[in-house]
Symmetry: C2
Subunit: 273 residues, 2 copies
């Protein structure tokens, strides 16, 4: 008898960035098993059109279906912005993205009703954070700024680096001149730049990390659906990793996010799904 | 009767960077027709594995086959490095990449037998420039440096920018300390940074632009095969553009490279080929 509570959570992202979400799920829901898929062959999604991101996301959801997951987390801001609404209508299991949990907390945190959001071209261009925040409170102004250089800077490993600080300063200058009191780190790579951002914006700006908020929402969703895991068996390693391309730098980078080696990731030919 | 001389040249790249090669072909072989394919849905190739780049390249070559091209130019350093040798064995029409022409000129230009090459992780990691240069002269030392931030900086449009100069300075510092007298701009985006590079390396270093050398080699190849075009009819627009994703920023960027608007690009579902 298969107990659905014992089934894994499916988590996917355009690449390795979604591992920051996996990290938060591991910390906050330590009894849950996870199947992660990173679309490393087609990364990044952030510069692509809605149609393409939707097609890729559907393929990944079909793959995760073969892994018998009990729920899906879209751990990619771009895919959450561009594909989640459609896919939600097409599948039978609970699915959440990173955008709504982040939007909700930002709406709660802002005092002056001015929220900034940084992310990829696609995420910011989609206006999804604005839409979801204004559904909660139409008076909140949401100011977005696409930051296409931040992902490559993080992946280059230039975290504590004056060049990264200069790039961030330029991107954030406009937002800060808009007097936002809350800033959403709207891309899964950005929590790795949290201390750089903090240094630039000072203590008075609330920073929202959607990865953390998503782990909280996931826990609530699992409990509401009666499918939260009470505890996985100790002897079994509860995390499985799949990628669409085995390029070495991705496993290297993954190891900087997670507390263990993911070199055991298996390759999936995702275009077949 | 179809005259093969009238058939177009197929040119492909992982995205829009290959348009710098198209630009050189237009300038140097103005009577040739061109069909361009940019894999904008799956860009970039530079961080992907050989297996993935080869699979993508084969799909594109099959698509170009449906366009009845008479020859193919792989206008992408990464695909030239990782897929050209295999594909050459699999097709019946002439095909050239950008690596061999660039390597040949670098080998001819260097006086102190020390050549530097900058490019993507995949191109530099493949050691293809070293291999081809040392086939010509085994005494030449080839020193490579991957520069993953340069493509996003160019695509962000930060060309005349102190941040770009700082990033370039860091990447080139190591190469210059190796006393290279010739530097290959081993990625199709880099010719757009030529003046930034020139400023940093001074006049004593030869800069090699493989796009220009490729157009020269292509002309030679067409003449040798007796398939050079004597002149296309004036009334017909001789250039067609295809992409795998219609994201707006790519057409915007393309217009900065080419002397006319490419918004007429058509979308192809490349995964079906």
């Amino acid at each position: 008898m298969n107990d659905i509570k014992q089934a894994p959570i499916g988590v996917f992202d355009s690449g390795v960035g979604g591992l920051t979400v996996v990290r938060e799920i591991m910390r906050n829901l330590p009894t849950e098993k996870i199947v992660y898929f990173g679309d490393t062959a087609r990364v990044p999604y952030g510069s692509k059109s809605k149609e393409t991101v939707l097609r890729y996301s559907r393929q990944i959801v079909r793959f995760l279906g073969t892994q018998e997951v009990k729920a899906i987390v879209v751990a990619c801001n771009t895919a959450s912005a561009m594909a989640l609404e459609e896919i939600k209508e097409e599948i039978d299991i609970p699915i959440i993205g990173v955008v709504r949990p982040g939007a909700k907390v930002a709406a709660e945190m802002t005092e002056n009703k001015r929220v900034g959001i940084i992310g990829t071209q696609a995420t910011v261009g989609s206006q999804i954070y604005r839409k979801l925040i204004q559904e909660i409170d139409p008076e909140i102004e949401v100011i977005g700024k696409p930051c296409p250089l931040l992902v490559p800077l993080v992946e280059e490993g230039w975290l504590k680096d004056p060049i990264t600080d200069m790039v961030l300063e330029r991107y954030l200058k406009e937002l800060l001149s808009e007097d936002v009191d809350t800033l959403i780190l709207g891309c899964t790579h950005y929590p790795l730049l949290r201390s750089n951002v903090r240094k630039l914006v000072g203590e008075r700006v609330h920073l929202v990390n959607p990865a953390y908020e998503t782990a909280q929402s996931l826990g609530k969703l699992l409990r509401e659906n009666g499918i939260a895991n009470d505890g996985h068996e100790e002897e079994e390693f509860p995390y499985r990793f799949y990628v669409s391309d085995m390029a070495e730098r991705f496993t290297d980078f993954a190891s900087t996010i997670l507390p263990f080696d993911v070199s055991s990731a298996k390759k999936v030919n995702i275009e077949e799904y």
